[in-house]
Symmetry: C2
Subunit: 415 residues, 2 copies
């Protein structure tokens, strides 16, 4: 049996943080939302990261399957991306006027992403989804949005729910939430709201938390596209989480349709801070009509990093590579679970796999297994999809399966 | 007479950009919004920046009074900030778990900013203002916001106006906009909306576009503070633009009052991408209750840069220094104008000066003068406040005044 990690320094730092930062660590990286299990099993701070690994504050090393919740797609500190960024930084980053690297990056996205006739850059995924919704509303002069149960499109009030803190009914009154993969519900909704639906906003498949992730049913996206066309509704794909891990041409392209607007962030520049809204030519002037910008939105370093990142993703055929790695891991994990009588569900695409031990509907058995993996150096989370990066080696995968096996044996003994 | 700049390469690049980027250059840096004058007078792209200067794509050099619209406070490529950032980057930037440099930065802001008992970090100024408003609504369980005419608090739909593209009445229905410095209007508004005002949201003084900037009348802020206390309303100061250029302890502190929540961005890390919401202890748990985070929000490099930036701002007594430089420039510009019979108004605090030739209410004379300055290497804009940075030298100021003098002579001859 491997020794298990302890987190004395992480916990000390967390106590210090709680005095000066709301929640100590907020957001999905916080112990409240990130783990959904007794936090004692988790490290809380990173001290160093390289390739497919990070080290915590107590010096424990992890094979990282969260990839900073997506941005790390090539491996931490990728030399090609970092070199391009450093070169740009020496020239200038956040300057009064933009630099032409911004045009180069837009050109590259237009060449790469199937539905992209143009690109508009911002900083958060949420900036891109909000610009998309405003564009759809400005274009259609309509208010209502169709979204799908389990959605996550950022943190702006319009993306949230009425029972969330600080959210008003006005913020969400125009959101209609339908079940995923339900064509009949969608048809009925369009019929009942004739001429009122500004946009359908959706992730390319349902990769929400707490549930097995669900791919689109055959023909689902083609039907959505058809209904949007018939109703002059804008089809917005939120590819913030899945983008570039399924298809460099966009996750809509992977499923054989074309979005009108597509939102990218996370994997766009291997951790350098940029997001993008891309879309079809007929919406370009509408985007121009928005009052929408921010302090660092023209910064050149993330554009240079983004170019280096996408070019490398193309060179290594990243979507194929990441899914092969993910499939190898999936098969090993499922087989390890089976040895101990566990039915491990691995859902979503392999590069974005979601894990759930299906034998226990309370999810506690699953949480216990994940915790035993983490304490031994495999960084999983319990109820969020995971991310594969290109630096993940066969040896990393083999070690992950060994540790998962040991963790299964421990929770099997406790049953 | 100096030779005037030409912009062949900038204009070529802009034509290329227009094909793949909405508006070519969007936001306040775009020719549509940034200049408000015939764009032929302006360069459009930066090729290099250093200290108080940048060079455009055609090789013309500028003394820069826009400072990337605020972020450049120490000078471009400040060696101390860049060294701290590079050291942090070698360890890791955007990692799965945060790094303790995030706690160190929060500690430093709590030590530096008078009203700050805690700090919460994000990416845009707009993230901070939106978190502030959501916090105020969650805390008070009220909806309405009081803002002041000429306000700018970001680009989220709630910050915009009903006639702006993509904005719904639901987005802004709870905004009440009052005249600046009008205590009677404020008292009346509180009386008419008893128990309904969640927050007063305001910049520390009225530094809006197109109008001479207006400082608070004596006693204005003290009255606002009193009314907020009496009505249990949250007082939010949007210090995104003015922060650290008036008082390192916050612009509320400069005017002798304490905000409940204060928003920073721009000058926080000399161009590295970070924003912050700080506030009083009684609101810390409410911030924790928000669902509010983003992909790069825990990235460590901007925190390291922010620490180096604020520490240097303290070492050089930046607020005093920047205002002295601004005052020297102001006096020189006003005197140069007077030589040619122009009444140049320089308003706002000197480190954030706003320019207007008051002899012509159409503003065209002013635009012509600004254009002549820009074409000779002084980067001003027409109807937005300017920014002073610490690298601006006495020689830069003297050269600026010489160029301004020449520009005055030209527009005087044209009258």
């Amino acid at each position: 049996m491997r020794p298990v990690n302890t987190y004395t320094k992480s916990q000390e730092a967390f106590r210090r943080a709680c005095k000066v930062i709301p929640s100590g660590i907020y957001g999905h990286q916080g112990p409240a939302e990130g783990c959904y299990v007794p936090v004692e099993a988790w490290p809380l701070y990173t001290s160093k990261a390289q390739g497919s690994w990070f080290w915590d504050l107590d010096g424990n090393k992890y094979i990282d399957y969260m990839c900073a919740y997506g941005p790390n797609i090539l491996g931490y500190n990728d030399p090609d991306v970092d070199e391009a960024a450093a070169k740009q930084r020496a020239i200038g980053d956040c300057t009064t006027l933009p630099q032409t690297v911004m045009i180069d990056f837009a050109d590259l996205l237009v060449d790469t992403v199937a539905c992209a006739d143009w690109a508009f850059f911002a900083k958060n995924g949420n900036d891109a989804t909000t610009a998309a919704v405003m564009t759809a509303r400005a274009h259609t002069r309509r208010k209502k949005l169709i979204m799908f149960k389990g959605y996550y499109h950022g943190v702006s009030p319009w993306t949230q729910k009425i029972d969330y803190a600080g959210v008003l009914e006005e913020d969400v009154v125009n959101n209609i939430v339908l079940p995923w993969n339900d064509v009949a519900a969608l048809e009925q909704c369009f019929a009942e709201n004739k001429g009122q639906i500004a946009a359908v906003v959706s992730q390319p498949y349902m990769h929400g938390n707490f549930h097995d992730n669900e791919l689109p049913a055959p023909g689902f996206w083609q039907k959505v596209r058809q209904l949007c066309d018939e109703n002059e509704t804008v089809l917005i794909i939120d590819d913030v989480r899945a983008g570039f891990r399924m298809d460099l041409a966009g996750s809509d392209h992977y499923f054989g349709f074309e979005a009108d607007l597509i939102c990218f962030c996370k994997a766009l520049a291997n951790g350098y801070n940029v997001s993008a809204l891309c879309g079809k030519a007929h919406l370009q002037n509408t985007v121009s009509s928005l009052s929408f910008t921010g302090s660092y939105w023209m910064s050149a370093v993330p554009f240079a990093a983004g170019i280096a990142c996408i070019e490398k993703l193309k060179r290594i055929d990243a979507a194929k590579l990441l899914n092969e790695k993910g499939a190898k891991l999936r098969d090993g994990l499922v087989a390890a679970g089976k040895k101990y009588g566990f039915d491990l569900h691995v859902t979503g695409v392999p590069s974005l796999f979601y894990l759930r031990i299906a034998d226990d509907p309370t999810l506690k058995l699953h949480q216990a297994w994940i915790a035993e993996c983490v304490k031994r150096g495999v960084f999983f989370t319990t109820h969020h999809n995971h991310f594969i990066n290109a630096a993940l080696s066969d040896q990393d995968i083999a070690e992950t399966i060994e540790i998962a096996d040991e963790a299964f044996s421990i929770v099997a003994n406790r049953r």
